[in-house]
Amino acid sequence: MSTLPLINCEHVSCTYGNAAVLDDVYMKINRGEFVGVVGPSGSGKTTLLKAILGTHPVAHGSITTQPKLTLGYVPQVETVDWYFPVTVEEVIVMTRSRTTWWPRISKSERAAVGEVLERLGIGDVAHRHIRELSGGQQQRVFLARAMFRDPDILIMDEPTSGVDVRTRHEVLHLLADLHAEGMTILLTTHDLNGLAAHLPRLVCLNKRVIADGNPREVLTPSVLEATYGAPMEVLEHGGMPLIIDHGRVQMRGEGK
């Protein structure tokens, strides 16, 4: 097996019109890693993912991937049209659109869909309309679609954005299990305590890479202030860093 990184971003800059969104970004993702990219809104997290996926042009620098690398992309569930007339099974086989033209789902595809759904613990939802799913099931279905391509790396944009605490726990456990099975995962998140602090490697991004390492190394007040532009305190809770921001505002009527 090649020891080259799966993805190698060197000197990467991206723009929207004349505005620089990413500036001189270096990042390597090796096989088997679980990496979270954190940063404030507008820091370029999603643009970095899009550049890696090839849907946003790179203005300077280069992104090289291993030859024949298969990407499994899971978009934000908030961007999905939940009223669209498709069943879970139809959503999952979509990723075979390029290789199969026959409109009907074949027996072998149906079996493969059942397998991937079972693996993610939702074996009974194949024939449901996507609107008839709970938050955790919705996230799992889109993860199942990405897994259906048998990807080398899973790329997820804000997997816990807009979900409740229970769903967030479900997603986190699921990703930990996939990672334990050897899956390489790259995700973006704004959820420092709920998701980022649990990951083995974090990249703090604000147009450029501010810090890159394990959460204990990078979740420090100085790195967080450089990343988010606001003072933050880092405590230790249950052996994990806990981030508290200093955004306390005295409200009228409080403390009476």
């Binding site: 090839g54 992309y73 669209f84 007339p85 979509m94 659109s97 033209w101 409109p103 799913l133």
Partner: protein, 283 residues
Amino acid sequence: MILSFDLFEPYGFQFFQHGLVVATIAGALCGLLGVFVVLRGMSYIGHGLSHAVFGGAAASAVIGINFFIGAGIWGIVSGVLIARVARRRVLGADAAIGVVTTASFALGLALMNRYGQASKSIEAVLFGSVLGVKLVDIVAVSIVALFALSVIVLWYRKLLFSTFDPDVAQVSGVKVSLVEMVLLSLLSLTILVTMRVIGTLLISALLVIPAAAARMTTNSFSKLLWISPVIGATTCFVGMNLSYHLDTSASATIILLDALVFIAVYAIAGTRNRMKMASLGHV
């Protein structure tokens, strides 16, 4: 007063037979493509392209080239222009359509005023006319319908994927911009072969109403692809017959019938869906 009429009387006229065949095939074709128009939120594109094709029709009449060639090229070019302007994101798709198609429509009007046979031909193009339908129209609408059907069968998965989730489709190797171009070209061709019967102003309704009504009856994409054409073809067939007996415009009768079907489905499906939602509770 007792109304008595012979149901088969209009079938004695060849113009009616031709008009009926074109309208029924056009209804099925618009219903089929309408599924994508509705699911992609492209209703305004259908409206805009029909206006653009009008410009092409007028220009080809003035230059003296075949209607299908002139208006067809014009329509496809307009579709491609809209897609290009919209992709730049500086202008929204609605503004892009507004600029390209209204300018084209205005040019068509000016050309017809200056060189055309004044108001009569303008009215025929705007509101459609079964009188002018010829055998060549039947051939044209049949070819476009077969072509559209082939594209939709062969590209079923690509069309579904790029309609539902264009970003992930692109990452998964689907050429989303090519699919979009083909869909816009098909839409232009459909408008081109339908406009003589239905007219420029009402084609967009035929692209939207059957698909919107069908959408309320099913949650399955594949079922939508046959329910919508069936609604489109049936309303066109019945509407054409009704228009003869009621002495009303064919296009207006067809669209009103479509609207009635929509209202009926809305009333029935609305009640059914509310009951279903209530029984689902929080999953």
